[in-house]
C-alpha cells in the first residue's frame, strides 16, 4: 500500500513558518531531525528502545543517530518494553530527558503499569515533587496488515488517563514541530506515529519551530460541515474535502487536532458555530473513543448550535482484521467520510 499522500494544507498557525517550500523530506526524517536537534541542544536527552542503535531503528527513524551521538545516548535494549519504560521513568525522575521508542504502541501494552500507573502519576503522588519528563514514541494504528495484536490505536485507551499528554501528528511538518515540543515538555508525552505515514514527504522548514500542544490546525475552510480528526485519517479528511468541493460543490472545515490531550475543544466549537454540523473521524474503536469525547463536549457546550446529530466515523468495533481488503474496509476511509458528511448536510 502506498504511503498516504500529502495534501495541501492552509496555514492557520500565524506565528509558525510557512508550510510551503521545497525542502521536502520524509515523515521519518522529520522525526529524526526533531530528536537530533533537541539532543544537540540538551545533553540530558537520550533515545532508548529496541533496534534504535545498530540497526538504525526498526523503521529507520533513528538512522545515523548512533554514529552521531554514540552508544551512551542511543541505546539498544533487550526485548523488554516494561523494562525500558520503567528505566526511562527512573532516569527522568533523576533529571535526564529520555525518549523511549516502542517499535509499536501495540507493544506498550506489556508496559502498562509503567506508562499508565507510574509515569503520569509520579508528580501527583509525590505532591508535585517528582516530575516525569519523558517521551514515549512509536508506531500506532492499523493499515499495514499486521494482524489484530499489532495494529493497536491506543489513543482511546490511553487518553482516559489524567497526567499524560498525547500528540498525534498527521504530516511531516507537525511531526517535527510537535516532537520538539514533546521533548521539551515537563510531563510524560505519548507520541503516536504511524508506520503508514513514515514515508510521506512534504516541505519542512529549515528554521527552527515548535508546534504548540492543544492548538488545532484548520487545514481547510468551509461552512458546510466541521470535519474533526487527528493522526493519519486527517489525510483522508483532506481528500474527502477535495471530493466534496468537486462533486457536491460544498466546502468543509477540516480541523487537525494534533494533540488529543490537551484537546482544543475551543477550535471545534468555534468551527461548529459556523457550520452547525460535525463529523469526527477517529481510527480507533467507537466505544468510549476520542470521537465520543469530542461529541460529548460538543453536546455539553454547543448543543443549541447543532443542526444535525453529530456523526462519528471510527474503525469497526471488532479486532483489526488480518486480510488486506477487510482491514481497509474496517478502517475509516474516504468513502465513509463522504457518506458521513453527505448525511450531515443532506
Amino acid at each position: 500500500m502506498p504511503a498516504t499522500e500529502e495534501k495541501t494544507r492552509t496555514n492557520t498557525d500565524a506565528d509558525l513558518p510557512s508550510r510551503e517550500g521545497d525542502r521536502v523530506i520524509q515523515f521519518r526524517e522529520a522525526l529524526r531531525e526533531a530528536m537530533t536537534e533537541e539532543m544537540h541542544r540538551d545533553k540530558r536527552i537520550f533515545l532508548m528502545g529496541e533496534e534504535v542503535a545498530e540497526y538504525q531503528g526498526a523503521y529507520k527513524v533513528s538512522q545515523g543517530m548512533l554514529d552521531e551521538f554514540g552508544p551512551k545516548r542511543i541505546i539498544d535494549t533487550p526485548i523488554s518494553e516494561n523494562g525500558f519504560a520503567g528505566l526511562g521513568i527512573g532516569a527522568a525522575m533523576y533529571g535526564l530527558r529520555p525518549i523511549i521508542e516502542f517499535m509499536s504502541w501495540s507493544f506498550s501494552l506489556v508496559a502498562a503499569d509503567q506508562i499508565l500507573n507510574n509515569a503520569p502519576k509520579m508528580l501527583y503522588m509525590s505532591g508535585g515533587q517528582w516530575g516525569c519528563p519523558i517521551v514515549f514514541r512509536g508506531n500506532n494504528g492499523a493499515g499495514g496488515q499486521l494482524g489484530s495484536t499489532h495494529s493497536w490505536c491506543v489513543e482511546a485507551l490511553y487518553s482516559n488517563v489524567p497526567g499524560l499528554k498525547i500528540a498525534i501528528p498527521s504530516c511531516p511538518y507537525d511531526a517535527k514541530g510537535l516532537l520538539k515540543t514533546a521533548i521539551r515538555d515537563d510531563d510524560p508525552v505519548f507520541f503516536l506515529e504511524s508506520e503508514r505515514m513514515l514515508g510521506d514527504k512534504a516541505h519542512v522548514p529549515e528554521e527552527e519551530y515548535l508546534v504548540p500542544f492543544g492548538k488545532a490546525a484548520r487545514l481547510r475552510e468551509g461552512d458546510a460541515c466541521t470535519l474533526v480528526s487527528f493522526g493519519r485519517p486527517v489525510n483522508f479528511c483532506l481528500e474527502a474535502a477535495d471530493t466534496l468541493r468537486e462533486e457536491d460543490g460544498i466546502e468543509v472545515d477540516v480541523l487537525d487536532m494534533r494533540t488529543i490531550r490537551p484537546l482544543d475543544t475551543a477550535a471545534i466549537i468555534e468551527s461548529l458555530k459556523r457550520t452547525n454540523r460535525i463529523v469526527v473521524v477517529d481510527q480507533s474503536w467507537p466505544f468510549a473513543s476520542v470521537a465520543t469525547e469530542v461529541i460529548t463536549q460538543v453536546c455539553e457546550k454547543a448543543f443549541d448550535w447543532l443542526d444535525h446529530p453529530p456523526i462519528r466515523v471510527n474503525a469497526d468495533d471488532v479486532p483489526t482484521p488480518y486480510s488486506k481488503p477487510l482491514e481497509q474496509a474496517y478502517l475509516p476511509h474516504v468513502g465513509k467520510i463522504l457518506e458521513a458528511v453527505r448525511r450531515a448536510v443532506g
Partner: protein, 372 residues
C-alpha cells in the same frame, strides 16, 4: 561430545552476629564500629516504637492502612553503608534505612494517612516515593543508576523489595538491564518469608532468592537479614563493587515479618504460631542489645532512657504528621501536570467536575458544588 559442566553456581550465606549476640570476629573486621552499632540499636528501637504507634493510630481511625516493619529493622544498616549522594528506591518495609538516609519520620506516617505530601522528599535527600505497585520501582532504580552513570557521579542506587516481588517481571527486567548496562545498582530483597498470606514455598521453587540474580550476571549472596553486621558488610561490598566494576549485586536478606502484612489483615489466620515464636528469638533488636551488653555498652538504665526518648520522638513525629494543614477540594487538581492545562484550571475554578459542563447558566450549580 562428552558431557561437561559449563556452569557452576554457589550462593554464600553470611552471618556475622548470631541470634545470641555472638560475633564472628574475623568476618566483622573492617565492618561496623561500636559507635555505629549503638546508633543502629537506638534507631531500630525508635523504629519499632514508631511501628507500634502507627498500628494504634490505624486502629483508632487516625490512619488508613499501615504496613508494619517490625522484625526487619536491621535493614537500616544499609544507610550506614551508603553515602549521602546514594539513592534509596524503596517499597514500604525499609523505614529504618530511609530515616537514617535523611527522610523526616513524619513523611511515612503522612503518606499512610493518605496524603501525597508524605512523598514530598526534602531537597538533597535522595529517596524516591514509596512504591505501591509491587516491583515497578526496581526499574526506576535502574533508571536512576543509569543517570548516575551517565553523569559520572560516584553514587549508587539501592533498591528494596520483598520476596514476593521477585515473581514480577519488573524484577527480572531490572536485573537484566542493570547487569547488561553495568549500572551502579544494588538490589536488596527482604525475604521475610511471606507475601501477605503466600508463603515463600509457594512464591518460588528456587532454593534461594539470591540465586535468581545469577542468570543475569549479578553478584549474588544471602545474608542473615536480622544481623546488622551482615547487612552493613553486604551493602558496603556491593556498593564498592558497583562503583568499581559496574557490577550489580543481589542481596537476599533472610528475615521475617513479625507483624501482619498490613493493618488490613490478621496473620494468625494463615501463619503457624510456632514459626512466629521461633523468629521472635531471632529479633534483630534482641541480638544487637546482647552484643552491646556483652561489651558493656548497654544497661537497663540506658534502655529506660532510650524508651523515653523513643516515646518523645514518635509523639512529636505524630504531631507533625497530624498537624499539617488539611488539604482543600481545590488541591485535587494540583500536580496533575507540571503546568496546569486550561481545561483543568477551568474544572478547578468552575465546577469541580468536567461533565457538569461550563455553561454560564450553570452558575447556581457551580455555587452549590463549591459549597460541598
Amino acid at each position: 561430545m562428552p558431557t561437561k559442566v559449563i556452569y557452576n553456581a554457589k550462593i554464600n550465606q553470611i552471618q556475622i552476629l548470631d541470634e545470641n549476640g555472638k560475633l564472628d570476629e574475623k568476618l566483622a573486621r573492617g565492618g561496623l564500629k561500636d559507635a555505629q552499632v549503638l546508633k543502629l540499636y537506638e534507631h531500630m528501637s525508635i523504629c519499632r516504637h514508631y511501628d507500634e504507634v502507627a498500628f494504634k493510630l490505624q486502629r483508632s481511625g487516625r490512619m488508613g492502612t499501615y504496613p508494619q516493619n517490625m522484625g526487619q529493622e536491621a535493614i537500616g544498616a544499609v544507610a550506614l553503608a551508603a553515602i549521602r549522594a546514594d539513592w534509596m528506591v524503596p517499597c514500604y518495609r525499609e523505614n529504618a534505612a530511609l530515616f537514617l538516609h535523611g527522610l523526616p519520620m513524619e513523611k511515612i506516617l503522612l503518606h499512610w494517612m493518605g496524603d501525597e505530601r508524605g512523598n514530598q522528599i526534602p531537597e538533597g535527600v535522595n529517596i524516591t516515593p514509596i512504591s505501591i505497585p509491587i516491583g515497578t520501582h526496581m526499574l526506576h532504580a535502574a533508571g536512576i543508576a543509569w543517570a548516575l552513570k551517565l553523569r559520572k557521579e560516584d553514587a549508587v542506587a539501592f533498591t528494596f523489595f520483598g520476596d514476593g516481588a521477585t515473581s514480577e517481571g519488573d524484577f527480572h527486567e531490572a536485573m537484566n538491564f542493570a547487569c547488561t548496562l553495568k549500572l551502579p545498582c544494588v538490589f536488596i530483597c527482604q525475604n521475610n518469608q511471606w507475601a501477605i498470606s503466600v508463603p515463600r514455598s509457594k512464591q518460588t521453587a528456587s532454593e534461594t532468592f539470591a540465586q535468581k540474580g545469577l542468570a543475569y550476571g549479578a553478584e549474588c549472596l544471602q545474608i542473615d537479614g536480622n544481623d546488622v553486621f551482615a547487612v552493613y558488610k553486604a551493602a558496603k561490598d556491593a556498593r564498592a563493587r558497583a562503583l568499581k566494576d559496574g557490577k550489580p549485586t543481589l542481596i537476599e536478606a533472610y528475615t521475617y515479618r513479625l507483624g501482619d502484612h498490613t493493618t488490613a489483615d490478621d496473620a494468625r489466620r494463615y501463619r503457624d504460631a510456632k514459626e512466629l515464636e521461633m523468629w521472635r528469638l531471632r529479633d534483630p533488636l534482641i541480638r544487637t542489645r546482647k552484643y552491646l551488653e556483652a561489651k558493656d555498652l548497654w544497661s537497663d538504665d540506658k534502655q529506660k532512657t532510650l524508651e523515653a526518648k523513643a516515646k518523645e520522638i514518635v509523639t512529636k513525629v505524630v504531631k507533625n504528621a497530624e498537624g499539617i494543614e488539611k488539604p482543600t477540594n481545590d488541591d485535587i487538581f494540583d500536580h496533575t501536570f507540571a503546568e496546569l492545562p486550561e481545561e483543568i484550571i477551568r474544572q478547578r475554578d468552575t465546577m469541580h467536575t468536567h461533565s457538569l459542563g461550563q455553561r454560564p447558566e450553570q452558575e447556581t450549580l457551580r455555587a452549590s458544588a463549591r459549597g460541598v
